[in-house]
Amino acid sequence: MRIFTKGWMDVKRRLSKMFSFILVLTLLAACGNSAINTSSNEERNEASQQGESAETIKIGSILPFSGVYASLGKDLSDGMKLYFDSINWKVEGKKIELIEEDTEADPQVALRKLRKLMDQDNIDILNGAVSTAVAYAIRDEVDSKKLPYLTSHAGGNDLTRGKRSDYIWRSSFSSWQIGHSMGEWAFENVGDKMYIAAADYAFGREVSAAFIEAYKNAGGEIVGEVYPPLGNNDYSSYLTTIGGVEADGVYGFFAGSDAVRFVQQFKQFGLKEKFKLVGSGWLVAEDLRETIGNAAEGTFASTFWDYNLETEENQAFVKAYEEAYNRRPTIESLEGYDAARIIAEAITVTKGDVSDSEKLVEAIANVSFTSPRGEISFDKETHHVIQNMYISETVLSEGKTENKIIDTIEKVQDPGK
């Protein structure tokens, strides 16, 4: 008995030391997403598995299928498959093989998966990347191996500015396009005093900087700024501070669970009666609004596509997507759909020849068509997409919120510096 007690005390003595060790361990594990994501995703499309390699065009896709961005990766992938389905996975008589790899939104993992795609699968074209950090991490590898790469989501400004490469083209958006397009509009339609609240990470900072630049140029005044950490769980303190400020509106840049909490709490703290809420499309995104509920009503957002765009192309896209997957497309679904079409059209131009990278990127550069989001084409200088930006207002209809397009800013071109 005595010995047992002594042993127990010993254990207790070591406990405090152990505890600090454990805490560090937990922090490390929880901070890096990679530790949480355990599954490794490798899908091959069955329809495209047969066929000789000479007759097959291999398209590599690096997307996050696990971790916080998992739903974005899924939507991008579904959008791509929807387009390839519509052309029967065939371009110029050649089969398309889509090889998808899970990046877990981790730059290290992404680089490893990219090397696998290049060395083992010998892909001809690469697309994907949701996280800008992933896009930056693979940039040099893609550039040195001359692999044509179409960025289908990651929006960091620098990818088509300082980190520009001959082989990298972007069909999604840049932070600048998102923020800048709202600046002038907010000054003219909301008021001349704004408060900025944006998540403290590269994307949030870049978008709000672009907004501030455009808003100030238009003549507006920024009365205050606050940058809560990414993944902040409670906005009460920030919102109480904002509540005491004299302003016409609040520009909020948040996405995912942050957006849900921010928009909900914005209303709960009575700010909706005082200020107009403006932001980007992700604040009131298609897959978040149901969770946010009626609190989203009255939000103005800048975006490059919306579910309710009333063009023929968009209605056809929405219908096809809903039939195929039985849910509404998100902006990421559209990005995937467009990326697939850009790749297919470029290959059509080269007559199915994907052996020459130079020719292929030139073909990508010349692609232009009317997408569900409107007309798109590439800026040959920056390699970035030129597209319309839309201002949406969230309205209540039949007890649910819907985004309504109320303004269009035509052919927004990233300045490239």
Partner: protein, 288 residues
Amino acid sequence: MDLIGAQLVNGVSYGLLLFIITCGLSLVFGILGVLNLAHGSMYMFGAYIAYSLTATYTQSFWIALLISPICVALLALVVELILLRPTYQLGHLSQVLLTFGLAYVFHDIASYIWGSNVLTIQVPPVFSGSISVFGQVFPAYRIVVIVIGIIIAALLWFIQAKTRWGAIIRAGLNDKEMVSALGVNIKLVFTIVFIVGGLLAGFGGVIAGPILGIYPSMEFQTLILALVVLVIGGLGSIAGTLVAGLLVGVFETFSRFLFPELSMFLIFGLMVMVLVVKPNGLFGKKVA
């Protein structure tokens, strides 16, 4: 002045929310000496089950508040009986590894069942409105959280201080061998305390869901905060957890108010300061 008063209400509300989330972890650690790293996952299950109940089956927050913690408590029972019990002789490292591993398993189970979308729990209409305090608007639900936090604290205090069960638990905190020598079935005590820990974790999930939201990896974020509160309060002390929860809540709220860029750092700074001055936490017993 009004603004400071309003921030104080925010801080107290957030602090009591932290207390509600952490008290189960603290209780289990105090009695069993097991640092349950799956506590965050139980919290997550509480929130997800409550979501499923309110969104699909009953639409009633109150029924979810009743059933969801019970489901989590049942899960805790299974974990304790089958997995945790054999590890009591093996020392703390194996328990930490076990519960940490469980956290990952639960993470994947949750993402398999509920997917990766962001979800939220609807609060009953009575509490979904806003009320005015210090001339500022507050969500009524925040005030409800304050009331619930106080009730939980009072209840735990009452059980610990005034009932026979509380006496056994307090005795178990001090000397487990002596308690079992006096004829108390310590194994049963362990099991029951672990179940109560699960119950409290599930309860915390339902209460926090409408405020903190439900999303993939929510449990790890919450676990870190809960561990900070636990360490500051002193291991295994309910009173300490209450004080630490309030301290962290008010401190974080004001640091967000005054130095928004530093808020994350300041919380860990506070933890370091407390540990330097009082290595066992604010209310912790002297370790050996």
